[in-house]
C-alpha cells in the first residue's frame, strides 16, 4: 500500500472492501485457490474487486498470493475474496498444488507419479 514504511498511509484498506458491507462468515482459508467464474462485475464492486477478478481470470491463485500481488493485508484480501465468492464472481476450491491437479484422464499426471516413484526409491536407499 504505502511505498515507504516511514510515510503515513494514504489509502486505507477499507477502501478495497467498501465500508457499508456487513461481515460475512469466514469460509475461506488463506490457501484456498480462487479462480474467476467469468460473471461480470456489478456497479457496487470497487476497483480492487475488479483487480482481484482480473488477477485470477487466467488461473487460480490463493488468497495470500492475491494479497501479495495487490499489496493488501491478507485479512482484507480474504474479505474481498469472500465477498466475490458470495457474489458468484470467484470459484473457491480446496487448495491443491498444481501438480496434484488431475490430468485429462482424471488421474494424477505422469510427472507426479515419477516424482513419487523417485521419492520412494530415495527412501528405500536410505
Amino acid at each position: 500500500m504505502s511505498r515507504d514504511k516511514h510515510q503515513r498511509r494514504l489509502l486505507p484498506a477499507y477502501l478495497a472492501t467498501g465500508s457499508g458491507t456487513a461481515a460475512l462468515p469466514s469460509t475461506l482459508d488463506t490457501l484456498t485457490a480462487l479462480r474467476a467464474s467469468g460473471r461480470p462485475l456489478a456497479s457496487y464492486h470497487t476497483p480492487v474487486h475488479r483487480r482481484v477478478v482480473e488477477l485470477v481470470t487466467d488461473g487460480s491463485l490463493t488468497a495470500v498470493e492475491i494479497a501479495g500481488y495487490l499489496s493488501l493485508p491478507v485479512s482484507v484480501c480474504l474479505m474481498l475474496a469472500e465477498q466475490l465468492v458470495s457474489d458468484g464472481l470467484l470459484n473457491a476450491s480446496v487448495p491443491t498444488p498444481d501438480a496434484l491437479a488431475p490430468s485429462r484422464a482424471g488421474r494424477p499426471s505422469r510427472q507426479l507419479m515419477e516424482e513419487v516413484l523417485s521419492g520412494l526409491q530415495a527412501l528405500r536407499v536410505a
Binding site: R9, L24, M79
Partner: protein, 485 residues
Amino acid sequence: MTSLSEPELALGAVTAVIAVVALLLALLCRKHVRRGRKMEAALKSSEARVLGMETAAKSAEARVQSAEAGRLGAESRADDAEARAGMFRDEVSHLVSVRLPALALHLISSHHPVPGLLHEDAAEPKDVELLDSVLALVSGIALKERRRVDAAARAALRGASQDSQALSYRLQTELDALQKEFTGSRSLTHKVLTADHLNEQNLRLIQRTAIVCGAWPGHVRKDTYVTEIVTGASSRLRGFERVKINSRLGATDVGIVGRAAEPVAVACTELMANALEHSRDDLAVDVSLVKTGNGSVCITVDDAGKGMTPEAVARGARLISAEQHEVMLTELGDPPSQGFAAIGRLVADHGFHVSIDNPSPYGGVRAVVTIPPNLLTSIDEEAAPPSVMAPLPVMAPRADIRPASAADDAPAADDAAGASRPRTPAPGTAAELPQRRRRVHAAPTGEVTAPTHRAPDPERSRDAWSDFQKGLESGQNGTDLEETQ
C-alpha cells in the same frame, strides 16, 4: 499873586478838579479797557472750553455707541455659542445613543450601517473630526481586542487539535498493523476496518480544525500520484462509496510534489464532504481528474444537490480566496464553516487554486481544484507502482475526428464488435491497462454521408416551398383561432 481874583481862583480850582476827574476818568477808563480785555480773553477761553467739551461729548457719545454695539455683539455671540453648544450636545448624545450601538452592530456584521452626524452641514469640521475619532477609537479598540481573543481561542484550539491529531495518527498506525499482522475471523477484520474508518473521519475533523487555527497539515508526504491523493481524500469521509472517481489524466504517472500532496488531499476531502453532505444519499458525487492544455491538473467535484445560495457561494469564495490569510473564528458563523476556511489557508500557503462558483451540470455545486504545473511531477511507476485502490485512467476527452477514408472500414467493424462486448475485460486482455478505443458513436460512418452537390430540381423546391407556406398558414390560423376563443 494875591492879586488874583476870586473868579480866577475858582476857575483854576474847577480846571484842576476837571483835570483830576479827567485823570481819574482816564485811569478808570484804562482799568475798564484792561478788564474788557481780560474779559474778552476769558470769553475766548471759555468759548474754547465749550468747544472742547463739545468734542468730548461727541467722543463720549461715540464710545457709548460702540459700547452699545459691543454689548449687542456680545449678546448675539453668547446666543450663538449657546446654540452651538446645544447642537454639540445633541451630536454627542446622538453618538452615544445611536452611532455607537450601530458601530457595535457593524463590527459584528458589516452590513449594518453606521449613521452619520445629526447635522452634517452645520457641524464644525473640528467637531466632526472629534466625534468621528471617537468612533474610530472605539472600533480600533474593539477590533484589536477581538483579534487578541480570537488568537487566544485559536491557539488553544490548535494545541488541543494537534495533540489529538497525533494520537489519532498513532491509533491509525496500530489499526493498520492489526490489519496486516492478523488474519482472524472476518468479523474481526470487519470491526478493525470500521474502527480504522471511524478514526480516519475523526482525524479529518481534527486536522481541519487545526488548519483553520493556523497549524500545518500535520505531515509531509513524498511525491504522490494524483489518483491516490484523490482516492485517499475520499476515504476520510463517511459514505465514500458514493464518490466516483474518473481519472482522465491520460498518463498514470502524474503526481503531486510532496509538500503539496497532503494540502491538496485535505482540500479535496473538504470539497467532497460538502458534495456528499448537500446531496441525497442515493446520488453519486462525480470526481474527475483532467490534465488541461496548459499543463495543470484539474480535480472537478460535481454533486447533484440543491446547490448553494449566492450568498453562501460568495462567502465560501471569499474564504477560499488566497487573499484572506488570517481566519477569524468569529467570522466562521455558527455552525462554523471550517471547510472553506481550511481550504483558504491551504491555498494561501501552497499555491494551488480552488473555485466553487461554477454551477454543476447536475444542478448542484461544481468545485474545481486546479494544481499548477509547478506542483506536479512525474513518478517512476516501476519503482513505486500506484496502489490498486487508485482508479486507472480512462481515456481523456478527445474530439471525435473522422478517420482517414482508407482505413475507414476495418476500425468501424472493430468498434461495432467493441460496442457489443460486455463491460468486463475479456479473458486474456485482463491484466493489460485499458486501451483507448475510438468512441462507439463515431463508428457508423455509413449513416452520416458527406453533403454532395445536388442538381437543382424546380419541382422539388416548389413543393417544399408550398409545404412551408401551408404549414405557416395553418400555424397562423391556429393561433388566430386560439386568440379569438
